[in-house]
């Protein structure tokens, strides 16, 4: 049963990823990414990361992707020209991606990490639950928590400054 769920999630994720890089219209790419994110959320659930999965849906797919949708609608479609100005890019890029995948796979499959072969340790109840995550966040990782809040603030201010309307510019 578990395998089936995994494969459904995997196919959803892979399909979404390929669609992102293959579709011409950037709006469609955005939507493909949403599908991908939801599939990943499913996979997260299988890994006993409930809180993260929820955050993925609510924050990532719900807020960040909405932002993308807005911008894609504002900016509109971009016709990408066919001709490739950089010599060799069209050939080398897929090659390198495949090379990267192959290396990582070799690293993963050829590794002597014993834990990879097993189910993993028996985990307690509440593993990955919001209570446990919250406890960790506010006790052990408090500084990390605060720092990420600060980072979000800085990013928000930065975005406002970047996109602010300057004098004499059309809206």
């Amino acid at each position: 049963m578990e395998e089936v769920a995994f494969f459904i999630g995997a196919i959803g994720a892979l399909g979404g990823a390929i669609a992102v890089i293959a579709l011409r219209n950037p709006f469609y790419s955005v939507l493909a990414l949403v599908v991908h994110l939801v599939a990943l959320a499913g996979l997260f659930l299988m890994l006993h990361a409930e809180f993260v999965a929820a955050a993925q849906i609510v924050v990532y797919a719900g807020a960040v992707m909405v932002l993308y949708v807005f911008v894609a609608a504002y900016v509109g479609g971009v016709e990408e020209p066919i001709w490739e100005p950089i010599p060799g890019q069209r050939f080398l890029a897929p090659l390198l991606a495949i090379a990267l995948f192959v290396e990582l796979s070799i690293a993963i499959l050829g590794t002597a990490l014993t834990s990879l072969e097993s189910e993993g340790p028996v985990i307690q109840d509440g593993f990955g639950a919001p209570a446990a995550i919250g406890e960790l966040m506010l006790e052990k990782f408090l500084i990390v928590f605060e720092a990420s809040s600060l980072l979000l603030l800085v990013a928000a201010v930065g975005a406002i400054v970047l996109a602010a309307r300057r004098q004499g510019e059309p809206g």
Binding site: V64, Y74, P85, S115, L151
Partner: protein, 99 residues
């Protein structure tokens, strides 16, 4: 289900994201491919968290999500600024770093 599957999937998604960054020319789509790569990383993190029984990996994944969100915000701000100044939304047309 041993986590090797999850890791291989993560590697595959990462490679696809990298290829997309190199191939596509619209800055918007490049940012989307970056999201792909980040999520692949998240998947790998959570897989290892499950394998070691350690919730700290999940915290890490949450922070990665925060960082990704900030990066998206700034990147999209850039795209909006470019659009406002009537610059062509094509990464190849911005060559001022040429030596």
């Amino acid at each position: 289900m041993d986590i090797t599957w999850y890791l291989v999937l993560s590697a595959l998604l990462f490679a696809i994201g990298a290829g997309g960054v190199l191939i596509r020319r619209s800055p918007l789509v490049i940012l989307l491919c970056l999201e792909l790569m980040l999520n692949a990383g998240n998947l790998a993190l959570l897989a290892f968290a499950r394998a070691n029984g350690d919730q700290e990996g999940q915290i890490f994944a949450l922070v990665v999500m925060v960082v990704a969100a900030c990066e998206v915000v700034v990147g999209l701000g850039l795209i909006v600024a470019m659009f406002r100044r009537k610059l062509p939304l094509n990464v190849d047309d911005m060559r001022e770093l040429r030596g």
